[in-house]
């Protein structure tokens, strides 16, 4: 097998693999921002640059193919300095007020007031604690102290029910574009790397959405490495470090997507796809991502109900309700035989529930009159 040397270590690679892929397979971490697995590298952010012997320039590891005998340094002082510069530039390009404490006091107040007066900025950034830019800024000791905080207008799209697109925090990495066009293949976020007639060039080339094609799946939100795209329903409810993540299976169609439920104080505040989990490999649709809050509806049944003579329902205890059901079942079975009872199980609920219901009909009532909606 072919070998390259990364940080002095021999690392095997498959032909066609990039330096980033070879490093990742060998357990060597190279930071990335714009790279999105399962898609073509866009190579725009340059955070993944590495030093390659024989090249004057630093090369982006996400799009540089590994080659036999190549010598690569992923974490040299030169590389770290370059990354720091890139991160400073990215931080300065948007209203990333999570690092605002670095600013000198005379700038701090006005910047913070201005930022917080914008829509969707009254709370800490929704990505706080789960932001690639923030993580890297901390890791690389980036400070914005010497920067002029950005001012001016950024596009904001919050007219749709599920997702906010706040370009004041966009780093133009293009992951939302790749997620939409290459992963979900909805082609609802045309690549903004060139003049688009529907966008004002003075506002910069931000990846706006063509809502005729958008399915509101939120793949773009999941792909966003910063707080530019976020879920309206989750806004301000919790931050990454104060939720418990519970893995489960989606309750809608028969694909069985794997979900992370983000739970705080007994409530699901957000749902994301389990990256690399089978079968969905992190992907979700609009129902899987946003269809979780029905369980918290005020209309839930909360107590057993028994129908009264006038047709209304009265609340009952479990004992009352279950005794009534069991007695009526036994009565009917005795009078008309077990086949006078029939049941329909639920194709939405867990296997264990369907198993118990058919067992009740077969082993206790004594009939095979058990079915569910598989046929209809």
């Amino acid at each position: 097998m072919s070998q390259i040397k990364i940080n002095g270590r021999e690392v095997p690679f498959e032909p066609g693999q990039t330096i980033l892929e070879a490093a990742k397979a060998a357990g060597i971490t190279i930071p990335t921002l714009c790279h999105l697995p399962q898609t073509q590298a866009s190579g725009v952010c340059r955070v993944c640059v590495v030093e390659v012997a024989g090249s004057d320039r630093l090369l982006p590891s996400c799009e540089t193919p590994a080659a036999e005998g190549m010598e690569v340094k992923t974490d040299s002082p030169r590389v770290r300095e370059a990354r720091k510069g890139i991160l400073e530039m990215l931080l300065a390009s948007g209203q990333h007020n999570c690092l605002v404490m670095d600013l000198p006091p005379e700038k701090w107040t006005s910047f913070q007031i201005e930022t917080m007066s914008r829509p969707w900025h009254d709370q800490i950034c929704p990505a706080h604690g789960d932001c690639r830019l923030q993580d890297l800024a901390v890791e690389y000791g980036v400070t914005v102290a010497a920067q002029e905080p950005p001012s001016g207008e950024f596009p904001l799209d919050d007219e749709h029910p599920m997702i906010v697109r706040d370009f004041s925090r966009c780093i133009q990495c293009g992951r939302c574009v790749a997620a939409c066009n290459e992963v979900q293949v909805n082609r609802a976020i045309p690549a903004p790397w060139g003049p688009r007639k529907d966008q004002d060039p003075d506002q910069g080339w931000y990846p706006l959405v063509d809502y005729d094609n958008c399915t509101h799946c939120g793949e773009c939100v999941q792909a966003c490495p910063v707080g530019a795209l976020f879920e309206k329903k989750a806004y301000g409810l919790a931050y990454a470090n104060d939720v418990e993540k519970v893995r489960t299976t989606c309750p809608y169609c028969g694909v069985g997507c794997q979900l992370w439920l983000h739970v705080k104080d007994g409530k699901i505040v957000k749902v994301t796809g389990v990256e690399n989990g089978s079968p969905n490999k992190g992907r979700l649709c609009v129902k899987g991502r946003f269809g979780y809050d029905f369980i918290f509806s005020d209309e839930r049944l909360t107590t057993p109900l028994i129908k009264q003579a006038d047709g209304s329902f009265a609340e009952a205890s479990w004992d009352e309700a279950l005794d009534l059901v069991a007695n009526r079942f036994m009565e009917i079975k005795q009078k008309h035989g077990p086949d006078a009872l029939a049941g329909v199980s639920c194709a939405r609920s867990i296997n264990e529930d369907s198993y118990q219901m058919q067992k009740l009909f077969r082993a206790v009532i004594g009939t095979n009159n058990i079915d569910h909606c598989a046929r209809t």
Binding site: V246, G291, R300, R328, G343, R348, N351, E352, S354, R375
Partner: protein, 528 residues
């Protein structure tokens, strides 16, 4: 599914028939669309120019209910042009001669007449299909929800066996199951003819096995399928009806008839999480825990048993459904030991269902396993009938004859209504209707009609219309769309008001008892 979703990104050819994949199975569709983007071929056969059809190289808009004729026409071409897999047919199948005899009655010209597409298209599809091996056949309810649903499924199997595509990665016959756990409910024996793991109730050995396991005497007779249960409620042979988590009053064809049946029950019990149109008819309603309030498993379309976990507490005094059934059993003199989802699965289901023996909760902490999993070291089965070695021995060709839908358009009701699901809601909206935002994305039912019919009837997009059938009528907005072909109306059943099931026809496939949701006759009138 004989195969897996993991095959989708690798497959080179898809034949998709009767599947609204981008709306009914959106995430599965992403892998299909991506495969096409990366060079795979896709043929979509569907009366509608659906979302997935937009990605196909070929869309074949056959007429509603013409599937058997169309596929017989394809097989005619494959056999007469000797494009089928002769080695596979010879070594892995039986019944080729009778299949051949039948399909030779269906030259492309005759199939074309029934299917409403040119004979040349049928020839082209057959040749294209035969040019790439293996090809994956994918279908959904467009195949099954017909009075000839079973014959439609047999046609799909015939076609794939003739092409030698069953038993290989990236091949097979792949029904995308509608609901999250409809596969599991079948696997668990919530069917009137089989115990858990598809062991037949009329088989004495199977019955003895379960009698011993459950310590009870079991009925040797097949039970009633759902439509017969409903009829039984009316004729008095069924007195007590237990409905668990189903909103039959909206989901079954011909709502007026369904409600009459439910009304006739002498005693009706519902387990549910919300009051529904169906719980109105109950004598006792039992409040159940919902998804994410209890621990258990779902089984997806590709036979993968995955964990479902409790993340939050249920409201009020709601209880798990398995607990409710256990408590009723106790009151009827049966004490069941298992006292959690895990105990029920590990100690009973995976012991009694041979396909599940190797699946225990501890093995599916992360990704689930695809049954059959015959022992604890088995890695699961991504595709069935490996190398054409069928579970039953040889693959059976079953020649089938085309039959039209039970109700076909006439002067009074000149249009065909076909029904399905839309992206933003699920079934009767008991769940999605209570999720913030989804009603904003889709707030009402529409009748989707073709540009041609809209012009003929003088109806513009968004205008209110009356759609009526022999069974009922609804008033909805028209959605004039190029997705629908002339002579067709398409609706969903998500909204009580405007629900397609006020109109649908309660006629069933004679074997599967699946209702003909995909074809009934209606008329559309402009409202003054």
């Amino acid at each position: 599914m004989t195969n897996s979703f993991e095959d989708f990104p690798k497959a080179k050819m898809f034949f998709i028939i009767g599947s609204n994949t981008t709306e009914a199975h959106p995430v599965a569709a992403t892998f299909l669309k991506q495969a096409v983007q990366d060079g795979a071929q896709m043929i979509v056969v569907d009366p509608r120019y659906s979302g997935i059809a937009e990605h196909a190289q070929m869309h074949v808009p056959i007429k509603v209910g013409s599937d058997v004729a169309f596929i017989n026409g394809l097989m005619h071409v494959l056999i007469s042009e000797e494009l089928y897999d002769k080695d596979y047919v010879q070594s892995c199948t039986v019944g080729f001669d009778s299949l051949k005899e039948k399909v030779l009655e269906w030259p492309p010209e005759r199939a074309a007449e029934v299917a409403g597409v040119p004979a040349e298209t049928i020839v082209a599809v057959a040749r294209k299909l035969a040019s790439v091996k293996p090809a994956m056949l994918i279908y959904t309810l467009g195949i099954t929800e017909h009075t000839c649903g079973v014959n439609n499924v047999l046609s799909c199997a015939n076609l794939q066996m003739l092409l030698g595509n069953v038993g290989f990665e990236c091949g097979g016959v792949n029904p995308l199951r509608g609901q999250n756990n409809v596969q599991g409910a079948c696997d668990m024996g919530a069917l009137p003819n089989v115990y858990p793991g598809y062991q037949k109730v009329i088989d004495e050995a199977a019955r003895k096995k379960f009698e011993e396991a459950w310590g009870a005497e079991l009925s040797p007779n097949n039970g009633l399928m759902m439509p017969a249960m409903m009829d039984g409620l009316v004729d008095g042979t069924v007195k007590a009806f237990y409905v668990f988590g189903e909103n039959l009053a909206n989901t079954e064809p011909d709502i007026r008839h369904v409600e009459h049946c439910l009304e006739s029950a002498e005693f009706m019990v519902c387990n549910d999480i919300f009051p529904t149109e169906t719980t109105r008819f109950a004598d006792v309603i039992l409040p159940a825990t919902a998804w994410s309030e209890d621990d258990g498993t779902f089984t997806n379309s590709e036979r993968r048993v995955s964990r479902v976990r409790k993340a939050v507490e249920a409201p009020g005094v709601s209880k798990p459904n398995w607990w409710v059934f256990k408590e009723i059993a106790k009151r009827m003199g049966h004490d069941w030991e298992a006292n959690s989802g895990q105990e029920i699965w590990d100690n009973e289901i995976s012991v009694l269902a041979p396909q599940m023996v190797g699946i225990k909760f501890e093995r599916i902490e992360n990704d689930g396993l695809q049954w059959p999993v015959p022992d604890l070291d088995h890695p699961g089965t991504p595709y069935l009938h490996k190398e054409g070695c069928f579970t039953c021995g040889l693959g059976n060709f079953t020649p089938v004859e085309w039959t039209p839908p039970a109700e076909v358009p006439d002067e009074e009701y000149p249009l065909v209504l076909s029904t399905g699901r839309r992206l933003y809601h699920y079934h009767t909206r008991t769940q999605t209707g209570r999720c913030a935002g989804l009603n904003d994305l889709l707030g009402e039912e529409t009748a989707d009609i073709s540009l041609a019919d809209a012009a003929k009837l003088g109806i513009s997009d968004g205008e209110r219309v009356k759609v009526s059938s022999r069974r009922g009528e609804v008033e909805v907005r028209a959605r004039v769309t190029k997705q629908v072909q002339e002579g067709m109306v398409w609706m969903a059943f998500h909204f009580r008001e405007g629900c397609a099931n006020w109109l649908t026809n309660p006629v069933y496939d004679p074997v599967s008892q699946t209702a003909e949701y995909k074809a009934c006759s209606v008329k559309v009138e402009k409202l003054a």
